[in-house]
């Protein structure tokens, strides 16, 4: 046997490949073998799409999932390429990421932090996902972002609007393309000033949880800077379905503007109730009473139907934008699914492309390399104009849309019209702004 060319390693390899009969165990701990968590070794790379599939935001989650599938199709060279053609970076070749075919797994966040983390963990532990993305609420985004930081994978946030996501709870492995409460306030304030003047009394109804509070704080600060007076800020329970008892006190409060810091089902119900109580026909202090919904979602606006007409708010993106990138995205999404994409679909599509592009530029899937490639990255051609991924807090800075519920919609999707595109410079804030203070980005964690 001394002349045998067989090495121990060779035996192990053959054993593992053959696999039949006597299986030879190879033993290693998770930490020693790979350079970072879930390093893709085969010809494919797995991404984890973690969206709400049950519960009140299920439709929004379904739209996100459609956009993800479209993005994967485009990354792998299928379809018409969508925004890959308009994206300012030309690194992506349509052959997957770094030559590896993109595969994906899906999960259900149920819009609960616990369930979202369980689902993300199974993607990381079982399916070997190297990036997690998605979600439709800030609580979930922050919880999953924290998990990804601990596990050493990249988190590309979906729809999350709370200041905390890139403020108090920011993490080195987490990135947000969506805008936030501060930006809504900064974008809305000048428009509100032009429309309603500087002498107004605002009454806030706020969903009683962290996202609601940060938005209330942001909007109140922005409008008070205009000279508006804040009459009252009232917190409403998350579980509330009938807001009549919160709307009724508005009638005699002397306020002439009602700000609804609600999202989703809460927004639909509070807006519907406010209109029922005749607030829109009311004249207070000689001025027409107005309602403002700072964060609009077209999917949810549909639930409020006629009631959104003429009501102002802000949004991250809208399908009626006429730049080449938006048109390309609407075309490929609309051709595939038969209706225009929502802002949630747009933001997750962008996030997937941005992640893929960052891997390509970094030449690795290592979270630290990817994070470095994303930090301070300036790009264009994803539907929001020139955009910066700021290094200090991993927040995207881009134009914000101020929209209004359309008076004469031509179709069931045509609910909002863009009133103004607020330039990015106007919504930019310092990384140490008090509304975002308190957290630390930390350093990137590659796991392993």
């Amino acid at each position: 046997m001394s002349k045998s060319t067989m090495t121990r390693r060779g035996v192990l390899k053959t054993g593992a490949v053959a696999g039949a009969g006597v299986a030879l165990p190879t033993i290693f701990t998770a930490s020693s073998a790979a350079a970072y968590t879930n390093e893709p070794t085969g010809g494919s790379v797995t991404l984890g799409f973690n969206v709400p599939q049950t519960g009140p935001y299920a439709d929004e989650g379904a739209d996100e999932l459609r956009a993800y599938e479209l993005a994967v199709e485009h990354l792998n060279g299928g379809g018409d390429g969508g925004m890959m053609n308009t994206f300012s970076s030309k690194e992506l070749q349509g052959n997957g990421i770094l030559g590896k075919k993109v595969e994906f797994v899906t999960g259900d966040t149920q819009t609960k932090s616990d369930a979202a983390r369980a689902s993300a963990k199974s993607m990381i532990e079982k399916d070997g996902a190297v990036m997690i993305t998605g979600g439709s609420s800030s609580g979930v985004a922050i919880a999953v972002q924290g998990l990804c930081q601990e596990a050493g994978v990249i988190f590309m946030a979906g729809l999350t609007h709370s200041n905390d996501t890139t403020g108090k709870d920011k993490k080195a492995n987490g990135f947000r393309h969506f805008f936030n409460g501060y930006m809504s306030g900064a974008a809305l304030a000048p428009v509100l000033k032009n429309l309603y003047g500087t002498d107004r009394n605002a009454y806030h109804l706020t969903a009683d949880y962290t996202w609601g509070w940060t938005q209330e704080e942001s909007i109140a600060a922005a409008t008070e800077a205009l000279g508006w007076n804040t009459v009252n800020k009232v917190r409403t329970p998350l579980a509330a379905t009938d807001f009549s008892s919160y709307i009724a006190p508005v009638l005699n409060s002397g306020a002439d503007v009602l700000v609804l810091n609600h999202y989703g089902g809460n927004m639909v119900n509070s807006l519907t109730n406010a209109v029922q109580f005749g607030l829109r026909e009311k004249i207070v202090n000689g001025k027409q009473f107005e309602i403002v919904v700072p964060l609009y979602s077209r999917l949810m606006a549909k639930g409020a139907g006629e009631n959104v007409k003429g009501i102002h708010g802000s949004t991250n993106w809208h399908w009626s934008l006429q730049d080449d990138a938006s048109k390309a995205f609407v075309k490929s999404f609309g051709t595939k699914y038969g209706f225009p994409p929502s802002q949630a679909a747009h933001t997750v599509y962008c996030q997937t492309l941005l992640y893929a592009d960052a891997c390509q530029r970094a030449g690795t899937f290592n979270p630290c390399g990817v994070a470095e490639a994303l930090e301070g990255y300036e790009f264009d051609g994803l539907g929001n104009g020139k955009t910066l991924y700021r290094a200090e807090d991993h927040q995207c800075f881009k134009d914000v849309l101020v929209v209004r519920g359309k008076e004469n919609p031509t179709s069931e999707f045509d609910l909002l019209e863009v009133v103004e595109v607020t330039p990015a410079a106007q919504v930019t804030y310092a990384p140490d702004h008090p509304m975002f203070a308190g957290g630390e980005l930390g350093s990137c964690n590659p796991g392993a």
Partner: protein, 397 residues
Amino acid sequence: MLGLNKKDTSLMIVVIILTMFAPFILNPFPVDSAMAQFNAGYPDLMQRFVIFGIFAIGFNILFGLTGYLSFGHAAFLGIGSYSVVWMYKLLDYNVIYGLPLAVLTAGIFAVAIGYVSLRRSGIYFSILTLAFAQMSFNLAYSVLTPITNGETGLQVYNNDPQVLLGANEATSPHLFGIVMNNSFKLDVGAWQFTFNNGYYFCALVMLLVFYLSIRIFRSPFGLMLRAVKSNQNRLSYTGLNPRPYTLAAFVISGMYAGLAGGLMASMDPLAGAERMQWTASGEVVLMTILGGTGTLIGPVLGAGFIKYFENIFSKINDTILHQWFSFLPDGLEDAVVFIIHPFIGKGWHLTLGILFMLVVIFLPGGLVEGGQRIGKWIKSRGKSEDSDSGATTEPAE
């Protein structure tokens, strides 16, 4: 053995074997095969199986023995989790400080809530416990945010005191340096098995509390609790006051829930308020009934059943279905996928709902009864075909 009779000893041994070899048992399919989707042997889900098993075992001590149906046990789960995370924030990541505190705080809350709620029985009791739990949840989500961090969930920040944190200490939950997240992977041919520290820690705790629950079931105290269930009036007429016994059962099961909540935070250092919502309380009720109320092993089976569907079925999507059925002709493949589509992914609730109904309609005793029927069937077959072979497995109770 250890004060258990023969039947209980064999049950205990079966449970020990099942939990210790769970990484093998739950990963029956090779990693790259299409069936790998059904593998449940990854750390997070295995941990959840045993943690919710503990929760359900504890719940069963109250509901299974005394018949008092609490709809608010999730409150104790949440309290346990918050206690542990607070210990991380104040001291350090060693779970040894948090877990006893979790059991203790849950116990204190259970004494208070139990004392008040047990003044009523039947559905009045259920609603009282529900009211307390919903109050805890609503306040934790909003007004108590300084303590609970509200919607986001309580988590550890870099600027927390963590006074005991050593220089080289792990920055995730651990027990004297054994880090819960760490796993050991074993590749055998096409299979991969994961052995996770956290899972084995939870499993050992579960075996301990499972043993404890057997002892409670078989003790004079357990007998007294059963007497409460069968006829409380008669018990009173004999001059015994049932209240201290039911309160003790309530507190014990609350402490089990606190322990489960503490373990959840020990595996994953975040405590979300949803843990206290009525849906979470309802879930443990369903687990217990589904598995088999009043049986020892039933609640654990029920917990595994529900968690398996939540985590495995919700992750199957159309792409995976197309992979499975790609061997079929195109038209047929689409048809099959179309039929299965409503039941997987976003439809996992539907599948679960249907299974609830089927189990309760056809197996009145829960999953345990199903096990018993299969056991009997095997036995009777074995007897008719070969009367000598007695090598059948004892049905779990």
